[in-house]
């Protein structure tokens, strides 16, 4: 069976859930091989983790020459790996990357290098390579397929339920040479984001968001999120007001989320916000304004003040959980 490369998403050696989702999808297309671009010392741990989700091979590319620069070196490394794999007479069925801002750019450059078609932000990939995307603020569903070269597909988090299956996890270290031309956008400083202790916004099964209606006080939103084990999100209005950093923003210019449950609090539901959450499985909202457009798309809505409804709901949930 032909190989499918899956770029591993890991932080400090800890593999993130979207990697397992992609490995699960990769099994539909061929034989999954994980690609870890990172510190050599973390490779063993990563290999142990990904083989539980079916990685037959784990290609390890040391990131010493890669991590200090934006995008271009990663694209070069992946292109060289792809050429090595197909040069060894093996068929390469696809290259899957978790859909992050940087990975989409990596995929874009890779597509040109490999003269291969690119599909971004897929929410599903079938065995024949047909992808599903959600477009126009979630109002349309598009099915597409790459017709040239090795399909390069970036896949959004929560696109598949990770399935465990033992793979060989055979580690192979890949030497790549990064050109000077790729090392021209230098990362001169990095400030890691403070850990919130909550799930990642795009990966969470439940997202509890707050908007203008919070008046800047997210206490009730966060308390509800914590009792539900949810991530916290914010509308653009809340971010523009400086109440939450941009990394919390759900919407067209922020994150697109597709959780099992989305709870919108004090959010009116402008098209830009809907673009980021409309494909959530279940949507509920709490808003003082019964005319708020958010109520047009909810499965359940409460017209009321979030500052009284949310604490009461949090208490009720805590009580029911016993």
């Amino acid at each position: 069976m032909s190989e499918v490369l899956v770029l591993v998403d890991a932080q400090n050696g800890a593999v993130k859930k979207p990697t397992y989702e992609l490995l699960t999808i990769a099994k539909r297309l061929g034989t999954p091989s994980a690609v870890f671009i990172g510190a050599a010392g973390e490779a063993t741990g990563v290999a142990e983790a990904v083989k539980k989700y079916g990685a037959e091979k784990v290609y390890v590319i040391d990131d010493a020459q890669i991590k200090g620069y934006l995008v271009a070196p990663k694209a070069e490394a992946l292109a060289q790996l792809a050429q090595q794999v197909s040069g060894a007479g093996k068929d390469l069925a696809a290259i899957l990357l978790p859909s992050s801002a940087e990975n989409k750019e990596v995929a874009g450059r890779l597509a040109i290098k490999l003269e291969s078609g690119l599909i971004t932000d897929a929410v599903d990939v079938e065995g024949d390579g047909t992808t599903t995307q959600s477009v126009f603020a979630g109002n349309y569903t598009v099915k597409a397929k790459v017709t040239k070269g090795t399909p390069i597909i970036t896949v959004k988090p929560n696109s598949a339920a990770p399935e465990e299956s033992a793979g060989a996890g055979e580690v192979e270290t890949i030497a790549v040479s990064i050109s000077d031309a790729a090392k021209t956008a230098q990362i001169v400083a990095t400030q890691p984001r403070a850990a919130t202790g909550r799930p990642e916004l795009t990966e969470a099964a439940i997202v509890v968001s707050g908007g203008r209606g919070t008046g800047g006080d997210f206490t009730a939103v966060e308390a509800l999120a914590d009792v539900l084990g949810a991530a916290v999100g914010a509308s653009r209005a809340a971010v523009d007001s400086g109440w939450k950093p941009h990394s919390f923003q759900v919407g067209q210019t922020g994150k697109t989320v597709s959780p099992q449950l989305y709870v919108a609090n004090g959010i009116s539901g402008a098209i830009q916000h809907r673009a980021g959450m409309q494909t959530s499985k279940t949507i509920v909202a709490v808003n003082k304004d019964e005319e708020a457009p958010i109520f047009e798309l909810v499965d359940f809505g409460v017209v009321g003040d979030l500052h009284t409804v949310l604490p009461a709901l949090t208490e009720e949930i805590t009580k029911r959980k016993g």
């Binding site: 271009a72 956008a185 809505g301």
Partner: protein
């Protein structure tokens, strides 16, 4: 210094956006405008020009698209760009990002042949297809550094320094011009064209180029040359409003808890 800003004409997000029979975006019958996210790119280009007033800086707005796409360039001219270039050719219709980046790269090379291009500025994404890949593809094609998704932009001499927010960190990234820069909606509110700007724009040069002007063969672009194919587009069934209750004396919280329990969230 020579700055090129990439502007895209997109269907209005608040209009009824749809696809044509061949599954390409309907760009003709739906009201369009300059992509909101490209306004931020125009704004940053203009701010660089204004901050470096002692230098001679020209800002060129570049678009690829059908006839109406000239509107996107005009808006950029009204905001303050100095000149416009509109690449228009029937063969381009249906081009994917890969082909579009080729046309843009050739247009930038043509501009550069007249006067070297120091900075190419794009937005975070288009508001229609939204791939967010064209600046990276352009950097790849032009062999230029890419300094992308900036929330803060600073330039000094030929140095560009940006702040960029990723999922896990805030980074400071630096590069040397010429380079490709892209900016997010966090980079600063885009200005509205003034009455004076609108009047002045009418006298600014707006050139129209065809594929032949760029030395691009029609077979390299368009729907047929696309490296991927859209097989099907379907309108998502609109979400229908569910039960809405009014909160009275804490009844709302209880009703919501009942609903969440019925869906097994608690």
């Amino acid at each position: 210094m020579n700055i090129v800003v990439l502007v895209k004409y997109v269907p209005d997000a608040t209009a009824d956006r749809r696809f044509e029979a061949d599954n390409t975006v309907d760009r003709v019958d739906v009201d369009g405008l300059l992509s909101e996210l490209d306004e931020y790119a125009v704004e940053q280009a203009l701010q660089i020009k204004e901050k470096r007033a002692e230098e001679e800086i020209e800002v060129t707005a570049l678009t690829v698209g059908p006839e109406k796409a000239a509107d996107a360039v005009r808006k950029a001219l009204q905001m303050g760009a100095d000149k416009g270039v509109h690449v228009i050719d029937d063969a381009i219709a249906g081009s994917d990002a890969i082909a579009t980046s080729l046309v843009l790269a050739k247009a930038i090379e043509k501009l550069g042949a007249e006067k070297p291009v120091d900075l190419v500025v794009g937005g975070l994404a288009s508001t229609d297809a939204g791939l967010s890949v064209v600046p990276a593809m352009l950097a790849e094609r032009l062999g230029l550094p890419q300094v992308t998704l900036a929330s803060v932009v600073e330039t000094q001499g030929n140095q560009v320094r940006i702040k960029r927010d990723t999922d896990v960190a805030t980074e400071v990234v630096g590069g040397t011009m010429p380079l490709v820069l892209s900016v997010t909606d966090q980079s600063g509110e885009a200005r509205y064209p003034s009455f004076k700007g609108i009047m002045a724009a009418k006298k600014k040069p707006l050139e129209t180029w065809s594929l032949a002007d760029l030395g691009v063969d029609a077979s390299q672009v368009g729907l047929a040359a696309s490296w991927s194919v859209v097989e099907e587009t379907a309108a998502r069934p609109p979400r229908t409003a569910g039960e809405i209750v009014k909160d009275e004396d804490g009844s709302g919280a209880k009703a919501l808890a009942d609903f969440l329990a019925s869906k097994k969230f608690i």
